[in-house]
């Protein structure tokens, strides 16, 4: 019999003493992400308002956006969500090298997405000063790209930390949080892709 169960005062003590900062971090992080998503939702709403109300939507000489390359980019980014899930599974089974391999693959896919984004930006015939179309396009893709970059940076920190002996035995908050962040960035991209590229 656990003596802590006999004494409610002692039990209460144990609950609060063992529930350290770590246990609240995931809760706090999810709240933060929900709040962060409102910024994107605001941008999406703004985009929709502009798209439906502005008279000269596309700048002169621009016919629309090329969908093909961004679609490849989208497929890479969305599938990286599955890869990062595999990496997490490996970590849970204490397969550290499997974790590192899949984790690195996720990073590569994220970096490829950023590269593809940069190539697309370079090839576009309009800039962010080209009316609200140009402004919202660069704002949305740029703000999202900033999040992808943050995700890749977080992933590289987590990868480095996996080389500290015994650091990741029994799971790791940073890995779980980075993974959730990555899924979040993916979902945002799907909405963004629908709004900007599919709905033209």
């Amino acid at each position: 019999m656990n003596p802590a169960n006999l004494d409610p005062a002692l039990e209460a003590q144990v609950i609060q003493e063992t529930a350290h900062e770590e246990d609240h971090r995931m809760f706090g992080f999810i709240i933060f992400l929900l709040s962060e998503s409102i910024i994107f939702i605001s941008f999406f709403v703004g985009y929709t308002v502009y798209k439906t109300s502005v008279t000269d939507w596309l700048p002169a000489g621009v016919a629309g956006l090329e969908v093909h390359e961004p679609l490849i980019n989208t497929i890479v980014l969305v599938s990286s969500s599955f890869i990062i899930y595999l990496a997490e599974r490996c970590l849970h089974r204490d397969n550290l090298w499997g974790f590192r391999a899949f984790w690195l693959l996720t990073m590569a896919m994220g970096s490829y997405f950023l590269y593809g984004q940069a190539v697309e930006w370079m090839s576009l015939p309009f800039g962010f000063k080209s009316g609200v179309f140009g402004g919202t396009f660069y704002l949305l893709t740029g703000f999202h790209g900033l999040h992808v970059l943050t995700g890749v940076l977080l992933q590289s920190i987590m990868l480095t930390r996996s080389f500290i002996p015994n650091n990741y035995s029994g799971g790791e908050f940073g890995v779980a949080a980075t993974s959730i962040f990555w899924h979040f960035v993916d979902v945002i991209w799907i909405v963004l892709f629908m709004l900007i590229y599919v709905w033209q």
């Binding site: 409610p8 002692l10 706090g28 709240i31 933060f32 605001s42 703004g46 609200v132 704002l139």
Partner: protein, 562 residues
């Protein structure tokens, strides 16, 4: 069970940060929620004085019909910075300070969920405060577009510099947003996850309910303002055209982004003050809070409704008729949960054994002011009336009754009520009552004349006016100066009481609540053992004990080395 000793290892306590009354800890990167709470409150009060000084210069200008004391552009900067400082540097930090200090004590926790994040959130406040003050000294002076910063006015940038009053203003507001989100994540996590054993939702003090409701608003509202502010900053600095009407932009969209947050922000400010009223009245009326559960839930209803009322600030912004109708209805609906609270407070006081301490006086005064503000609020919610008084002093009078009347009075009620707990000293009742009298008279003298002025059609944000408005303006200005004077007995009282006031007992008001069970001021980490909650709060006239254990006594079975 196998190994019981494992979870029972002694908690790793933080070392005491110096002696208990070491003033230096208030200037350090302390992670103690009580230190951070006082840091917030004191710093915010300095900015309150500064913002008040700006207001007194404005009232000095308005004491005569002509524009003679300050230049018109300076006047624009004054009302912009007055509003910005009072909201972002005074009310938000001050309420975060109260929440920081009180929430862990009230829910029986040793600290906030993320103590370091808490300290970072606080230290951002002086940083963006300094940025705002620097904006007074850049070429062209501070932002002149009002605290709402509507484009295209806010996009004008007459000096042409990249670093101008407006861009510094946006930077400060952005940092304020970061700090507020950090605080909100921390406070919500603390309230949801760290309540003491036995403290179900309906055993939590009403103040914690209101703080939770207010911080949820921060989480869903503030990002919308951030989005609008980012777009405005890009327009101002790199030349995008989101809100530039001459290049296809939509300035009204900014107003939606702005008010989607900034109207609910009013509830972020007033909700914790509702919580203060709910805490103060039962203590000094010796009665349980009337309808506690309804009062608690009505806070969350206000949170929900606050997200769908923002367009009432834009009745005159080319808003279509159906939208006016819809938002008129939702705005009026929000008076239902607030009305519930007002009735509950009156019913709490009704037939109680009143003790008119300074705190109770400020509570009652704040309640009266709020009722008045609520009545003019319903008037303004009605679109036809709002169109009539839009941009007049009627609106200024209304929201100053809310912010200065209810919020500042409620804040004073809180400070006097918890001063013995925070400092371990008693304040001087005589000075406190003088402070109350000056504040109450000054407030009404200052803001009541604004209502007839507005109805007569005096526009707001002007440095000069038609001489027919002079009478009420002189009264208002005298009231403003009296309001300025009223802070002197408060400052004197706080300083002298803190230094040499009579030592306070643990529970000088015979109040019921976890924070009153422990020493004044509370020890580091608050509770020797975590309290186990038995009964609902406000058990006045009830024999049931609040807790099953004595949280001031160390556990006997705890290993001795801790």
């Amino acid at each position: 069970m196998s190994d019981a000793s494992l979870p029972l290892t002694p908690p790793s306590r933080q070392p005491q940060p110096g002696a208990p009354d070491n003033w230096r800890r208030f200037f350090s990167f302390s992670t103690d929620h009580k230190v951070i709470g006082i840091q917030y409150i004191v710093l915010a009060f300095f900015f309150f004085l500064f913002g008040g000084l700006l207001a007194m210069v404005m009232r000095g200008e308005l004491i005569t019909p002509d524009s003679d004391l300050v230049d018109r552009t300076v006047y624009n900067g004054l009302f912009t910075m007055h509003g910005t400082i009072m909201l972002f540097m005074w009310t938000f930090p001050m309420l975060n300070g109260l929440a920081n200090y009180l929430v862990p004590l009230m829910i029986g926790a040793r600290d906030m969920a993320f103590p370091r994040l808490n300290a970072v959130a606080f230290w951002l406040v002086p940083i963006f405060g300094v940025i705002l003050i620097i904006s007074f000294f850049v070429p062209g002076g501070p932002s002149q577009s009002g605290w709402w910063a509507y484009p295209p006015v806010s996009l004008q940038n007459p000096t042409g510099n990249l670093i101008n009053g407006q861009s510094l203003w946006l930077l400060a507001v952005a940092l304020s947003g970061v700090s507020s989100i950090m605080g909100a994540v921390n406070i919500v996590t603390t309230i949801v996850r760290m309540r003491a054993p036995g403290m179900g939702w309906f055993k939590m003090p009403a103040f914690c309910w209101t703080v939770l409701s207010a911080q949820i608003i921060q989480l869903f509202g503030l990002p919308a303002l951030t989005a609008g502010a980012v777009m405005l900053l890009l327009d101002l600095t790199v030349g995008t055209s989101f809100f530039e009407p001459s290049r296809g932009g939509d300035p009204v969209l900014y107003q939606h982004f702005f008010w989607f947050y900034s109207h609910p922000a009013v509830y972020v400010i007033i909700l914790p003050i509702f919580g203060v009223f709910s805490e103060v009245f039962p203590v000094y009326a010796r009665k349980p809070l009337f309808g506690y559960k309804v009062v608690a839930v009505s806070s969350l209803i206000i949170t929900g409704l606050s997200g769908i009322v923002w367009v009432h600030h834009m009745f005159a912004s080319g808003t279509p008729g159906w939208m006016r109708m819809l938002f008129m209805f939702t705005t009026m609906a929000i008076s239902v949960p607030t009305g519930i609270k007002v009735f509950a407070w009156v019913a709490t006081i009704w037939g109680g054994k009143l003790r008119l301490t300074t705190s109770m006086l400020f509570g009652l005064g704040g309640l009266t002011m709020f009722l008045f503000a609520g009545i003019t609020g319903i008037m303004l919610a009605s679109a036809p009336f709002d169109i009539h008084v839009n941009n007049t002093y009627f609106v200024v009078g209304h929201f100053h009754y809310v912010i200065n009347g209810a919020v500042v009075m409620g804040f004073y009620a809180a400070i006097y009520h918890w001063f013995p707990k925070m400092t371990g000293r008693m304040y001087y009742e005589g000075l406190g009552k003088l402070h109350f009298a000056l504040t109450f008279i000054g407030l009404n003298l200052n803001f009541l004349p604004m209502h007839p002025l507005g109805l007569q059609g005096m526009p707001r944000r002007v440095a000069s006016y038609d001489p027919e408005f002079a009478f009420w303006n002189v009264l208002a200005s005298l009231g403003a100066f009296l309001l300025g004077v009223s802070t002197l007995p408060f400052i004197l009282n706080m300083l002298s009481s803190w230094v040499r006031g009579e030592t306070a007992k643990d529970n000088p008001w015979r109040a019921i609540g976890l924070e009153w069970l422990i020493a004044s001021p509370p020890p580091h980490e608050n509770f020797e053992q975590i309290p186990i909650i038995l009964s609902a709060p406000y058990g006045y006239g009830s024999d049931e004990p609040l807790t099953a254990n004595d949280p001031t006594k160390e556990l006997a079975s705890e290993p001795s080395e801790s």
